[in-house]
Structure formats: C-alpha cells, structure tokens
C-alpha cells in the first residue's frame, strides 16, 4: 500500500476509534418494547388458539428461547404493602412466581417476575423488552409437563399507572404474565415502571422420555 493509502487508513481508524469511544460512553439501557408489541397495535398475525388449562402444579424452570433465558423458578409472596416480592437480586439467573396465585398452565393468571439487572449488571430478564408477539415462553412444572405459552403483547407501564386488574386480574383461560423493570431510567428515580409480557397457554409437552 502506498504511504498516502496508509495515511487514509490511519485517519479512518482514528475516526472509527473516536466514534466507538464516544458512542460507548453514552448510557446503554435495557431493550424497550416497540409500540407494535402493545395490545393497542392489535393481535398481529399471532392468534394461536388457547389450549385447555392443566391441573395446578408448581413451576420448576422457565425458558424463553428467543432471548436465551433458561432459569429455575422460586416462589414469591407479597410484601407488607401487597406488592409482589422479588427473587434475591444477587442471583442473576433466577425468576420467581407468585406462589399463592395460579401456577403456570392452570386456569387463571400466573404471575412471574425477574430482575432486569442488579447492582453489578444485566440479569435474567434484561432482554424481556426485545420479545415480540408470537414468541414462546415455556414453563416446566413439577408434574413433568411443560406448559407452552405464546406472547399476546408486551406493554410498558409507569409505576404510578400500573394497571393491577389487567396484569394480575383473574382469567377464564390459562394465562401468564412475565414482569421486569423498565419504562425509562434516571439515576434519581431508578427504573420508572415495568415491562410486562402477556401470554396465554397454547400447548403442553409431555416429559422427555
């Protein structure tokens, strides 16, 4: 390469390096679901028929293949204010379910929550906001069955306007909610709300032979 060519190459490298440093210095936040994934945008092409609910059995593991989540499930209660407890934050690969409520796969609304991050970095549901309608969520239960859910919508709610009834309310079919933090972040307020994935049961897989 000529000396002139080398000069241009180095100038280009300097520009690329500066851009990487500058761009990397901006705050990176967890993925935010697009408006197209909200209920308001309609069901899209994903209208899988609901499967018949299963008898209750507690969940053991949860998988979301699209965002490479594969985590054990622990039980959660309510705190003194009636809010859902959260799993221990130190464990980055752990999700919780509301153990006094509906088990995933049974008739009703099963509630699952997990951290988007902890003090050290991303946690199990960091990429929850990147999911789309029609993506699958799988829950393996103590009875050996795997309940397969499809996502109906991903919504973002401000803390002050959290729709309890919509998220936690009862259902006549087997539904699932997967909750994590989101809705914008500032150093002063922390995360300003929650990302909630709404899903319903579409099938059941027997235990592997």
């Amino acid at each position: 390469m000529s000396a002139k060519g080398n000069g241009w190459f180095i100038a280009l490298a300097v520009c690329a390096g500066l851009w990487l440093v500058q761009n990397g210095s901006e705050n990176v936040t967890p993925p935010v679901p697009s408006a197209a994934e909200a209920f308001a945008a309609g069901p899209g092409h994903h209208t899988d028929a609901a499967a018949d609910p299963l008898p209750p059995s507690p969940p053991l593991r949860l998988r979301i293949p699209e965002i490479r989540v594969e985590a054990p499930v622990t039980g959660l209660g309510l705190d003194s204010e009636g809010s859902l407890e959260v799993p221990p934050a130190a464990d980055r690969n752990l999700v919780g379910w509301y153990r006094d409520g509906t088990p995933p796969g049974a008739k009703g609304t099963a509630i699952v929550a997990g951290h988007v991050d902890n003090a050290k970095g991303p946690s199990v549901f960091y990429n929850l906001g990147a999911l789309k309608k029609g993506h699958r969520i799988e829950v393996t239960r103590r009875d050996g069955l795997t309940a397969v859910f499809t996502i109906d919508a991903i919504e973002v709610y401000e803390a002050a306007a959290f729709p309890d009834k919509k998220v936690y309310g009862p259902s006549g079919r087997a539904e699932l909610r997967v909750i994590t933090c989101g809705g914008g972040f500032t150093q002063q307020t922390g995360y300003m709300g929650n990302v909630v994935a709404f899903a319903h049961l579409i099938g059941v897989r027997p235990p592997p032979a």
Partner: protein, 168 residues
C-alpha cells in the same frame, strides 16, 4: 360487604362454639356447620365440622357450588363431631358459597364459605436497580484499542517517511 361477610363468619363460628359447648342438651337443635377458615383464597384447604350427625355419625358434604365436588365427613377424635375436608379449586371465582352437609341420620346443615381473590399482588414490581445502565465498556475498550493501533501505525508511517526523506 366484606365486613358483612366477616360478621356472618364470626357469628357462624360463635354459633358453632355455642353448639359444641351446649352439646348434650341441644345437639341437633343448634346444629350448624362450622367452616374453617371461612374466608379464603383459591387453593385453600377447608375443614368443616358439625355436631349435627350425632355421636360417631357420618355424612356427605357438597361443595359443588365452588367446583370442589363432594367430600366425606367422619367422626373426629371428639366423637360427637363429624369432620371433613376439601380444597378450594384454583379456578374458583370470588363469592360466597353455601357448603351443605347431609348426615347419615338425615339431618342437613349448611355453612358459608367466602372466596376472595384480593390476595393478588398490586402495583409495580421492583425488579431492577440500574446496574446494567451505563457506558458500554466493551465498546469503549474496542475504540481505545483501535485508536492505539492507529497511533502506532501513524508513528511507524511518519518514521518511514522521515527516513525515506533522509535517504533520497
């Protein structure tokens, strides 16, 4: 309405206690069905007992109203009271349900069970502290590496130019 339900339940429990205490004299006349606990969420295990079936008596309970089917009552360790258990199904809707017991001796007693769903969680969930929010250190490191490489390359290039200029 909740208060009313509690009051009713409390009255039922009180009445049951009186019924038990007054056993010898009033068995049958004051017979009631004690339902415990009387205000529950779906999934709860309910115990009912009654002196109505008589000493050592048995009976069949009917909890079909809330989808729990029938259950049996057998004499408890206190032989004068028959006891039975059933589970409130997870899909039971909120409401007040009548539990009916038919004793072998022909007596029928009923009691109320209130199913509530308001043990649902409420409000937001605190599932993050922001530890993932911040500069992309990997990207910055890559940028620094590229800049360093450019600096080394640039220095070599300048040196070569300088030596080339001297040589000519």
């Amino acid at each position: 309405m909740r208060t009313t339900a509690r009051l009713l339940a409390a009255t039922a429990v009180a009445a049951a206690t009186i019924g038990l205490g007054a056993h010898g004299a009033y068995a049958g006349d004051f017979a009631v069905l004690e339902v415990f606990p009387s205000i529950v969420a779906p999934g709860a295990i309910i115990t009912v007992n009654t002196p109505a079936c008589g000493p050592g008596g048995r009976g069949v309970g009917n909890a079909r109203a809330l989808g729990a089917g029938e259950f049996r009552l057998a004499p408890s360790t206190h032989k004068e009271v028959a006891v039975g258990r059933f589970t409130v199904p997870h899909h039971t809707e909120p409401g007040t349900y009548a539990i009916e017991v038919s004793c072998k001796n022909g007596k029928r007693v009923t009691g109320d069970l209130v199913v509530r769903h308001d043990k649902q969680p409420s409000g937001r969930v605190h599932t993050g502290v922001g530890g993932s929010v911040g500069p992309d250190t990997t990207q910055i490191a890559a940028g620094v590496a590229v800049l360093a490489a450019a600096a080394v390359g640039g220095t070599l290039l300048l040196r070569r130019r300088a030596s080339g200029a001297q040589g000519s």
